[in-house]
Amino acid sequence: MTTPAKVENTVDSLLRLDRMPHIWCPGCGIGPAVGCFIRAIESSGLDPDKIALVSGIGCTGRVAGYVKLDSFHTTHGRALPFATGLNLANPELNVVVFSGDGDLLAIGGNHLIHAARRNIDMTVICLNNFNYGMTGGQMGPTTPLDARSNTSPYGNVEPPFNVPYLVAAAGATYVARWTVIHARPLEWAIAEALTKPGFSFIEVLGPCPTLYGRMNKMGRGLDSLHQYREKSVVRDGADPRDVAIVNDGPIIVGKFVDIDRPTFADRCKLVVERAQKKGK
């Protein structure tokens, strides 16, 4: 009998192992998404010393605390404007925002559309678990219609955002959606987003078996992953208008937007040139 070759765990080198165990529940989708992020940093060849990671508040907001980069755990919804300041003050930094759907789309929704509109050079990884986990499973702007939560005990009355459509309409130059079972495509998408100038946004669907999954009788985390596999349809280049997540419909995944336009920092350079020419 031969022992299998030891697989080198390179993810550990970018984790703060002195902070383990982490706070995430068994079956949570955040951990696998973080794994994809770290592997994407490695495969992109970027220097981790030049990456700044910013999170807001919530379960996904804790990502900044576990990844060994210059990392900022900010206030609820405010990761994007904080990251905007980092990027504009030092455009050489590769700025990543890793936060949750409630953080980025509810309290941070205004910042999201404006960061996309300005085309700030950053990568946003939005872990969508369809509810507020940290506070105990309340509905939010991504919770599907009629879904149960601790603040929608009779079913959610609000229609959710079609997230890729929202950010594409606001001006994002790269928009993709994957689930946490799409480990390789997700890793490749993050690597692509990290190396692409402009505002890149990746929606990552991940289970919350402790709260959203339990309240909606979706079983364990693994059962949600089976659901993702059964319901996911890869459709690169799909019109973002057509990728809304609707009850009993397919989950459209893939890369929806990949365009180029000048970033805010590019335009700032022009402004500096104009201002300095004026003085001469």
Partner: protein, 371 residues
């Protein structure tokens, strides 16, 4: 130039290279001037979607190594309170200018008040100390903006410039001196090797050295209560240690931070304690009182927070009374009264805002206090 423009010029002279803001009367001219001046010196002006975003962008820019600031007025100041707290918690040098107008709420957007003085001290949640400066003239707007950046870098704390509409919109001659590099303080910087640096390990002066993003330290900072490593630590002990240090780094350095001016206080029986535009009017009232034979003096607060407790306590042993004119219904007077400790009378001369005091109303209070 007007006070708002002088403030922007002071910022540029202080080395500020990042401004994030949102237009609001009567602070807009600060933003307008910065949008013109910063590109000339290679800096960045960004107009954010609101004041919440502005404050955050300022913090982010500071962590990327630039001196950064924002300017606003009452309604925007309220929105900035959330992340002023984050600035305190992360110990982020930056400057926040509030050109005060009359409130509550939208109030009198184009007219003067000094109604945000207690908000400056207590506006964000939790226990903390803050530094707040109050200019009385456009020249002050220039000079104190430089002082604000220096104090902010020295103590790693957001510094507030609590101007008012009158000073912001008043046009006077402003002398712009040459600023030598040694006039500008730069935040304490780590000399550690990567892996040895603890972001919140402070030595005797309680101000830890500050790394910036991209230097290879791979540090973590959080708005949660944290230990020296910057790691969240959810215990009463960690909370005690952190809040004491954040507070004590200001309290124990109060002699270095405090600034005030005194006129004719040596023999005073009545001291008018005033700040901002009101201090200029109070000066006139003090002269008039002297003309009437009342030994009046003026204590003009330049740094309002931390408060000049010891000086007020000393004066309380000497004077019959304090007169506190302010364009609100009683804020700083509460501090004066607390420090006077019953040893001297304290008379408030309030003005609800929309205008400034008549010297006569302050003079009448001086007469009453002298009796």
């Amino acid at each position: 130039m007007n006070g708002d423009v002088a403030c922007a010029e002071g910022a540029v002279s202080a080395g500020c290279r990042f401004f994030a803001g949102y237009p609001i009367t009567p602070a807009t001219e600060v933003a307008e001037r910065m949008s013109e001046r910063l590109p000339e010196v290679g800096g960045v002006y960004v107009q954010m979607e609101d004041e919440i975003a502005s404050m955050n962008a300022v913090l982010g820019a500071s962590w990327a190594g630039l001196k950064s600031m924002t300017a606003t007025s009452g309604p925007g100041f309220s929105l900035m309170m959330e992340n002023l707290g984050l600035g305190v918690m992360l110990e982020t040098p930056c400057v926040l200018v509030n050109v005060q107008r009359a409130g509550p709420s939208t109030g009198l957007p184009t007219l003067v008040a000094q109604g945000d003085m207690m908000q400056a001290r207590w506006g964000s949640h939790g226990s903390y100390e803050i530094i707040a400066l109050v200019p009385s003239s456009p020249q002050d707007m220039f000079d104190l903006t430089i002082t604000a950046f220096n104090l902010s870098e020295r103590y790693r704390v957001p510094v507030l410039i609590m101007a008012d509409e009158a000073v912001g919109h008043m046009s006077e001659k402003v002398v712009i001196p040459g600023i030598a590099p040694q006039d500008l303080i730069v935040r304490p910087r780590p000399k550690h090797r990567a892996g040895r640096y603890l972001p919140y390990e402070a030595d005797g002066d309680l101000v830890p050295p500050m790394a910036i993003a991209g230097e290879g330290y791979r540090f973590h900072v959080t708005g949660l209560t944290h230990d020296e490593r910057g790691y969240p630590t959810m215990t009463a002990e960690a909370q005690d240690r952190l809040v004491r240090r954040l507070t004590d780094k200001i309290r124990l350095n109060i002699d270095d931070i405090l600034r005030y001016e005194e006129i004719a206080t040596e023999d005073a029986e009545v001291v008018v304690c005033a700040y901002g535009i009101t201090a200029r009017i109070a000066r006139l009232a003090v002269q008039q009182a002297r003309g009437e034979g009342i030994r009046a003096g003026l204590l003009r607060l330049v740094v309002v927070w931390p408060f000049a407790e010891n000086r007020i306590r000393e004066l309380a042993r000497q004077v019959r009374g304090f007169v506190v004119p302010e364009i609100n219904y009683g804020q700083i007077v509460l501090e004066v009264e607390r420090c006077a400790g019953g040893k001297a009378r304290t008379l408030l001369v309030p003005h609800m805002g929309g205008g400034v005091h008549e010297p006569q109303t302050i003079l009448e209070a001086i007469r009453e206090a002298a009796q």
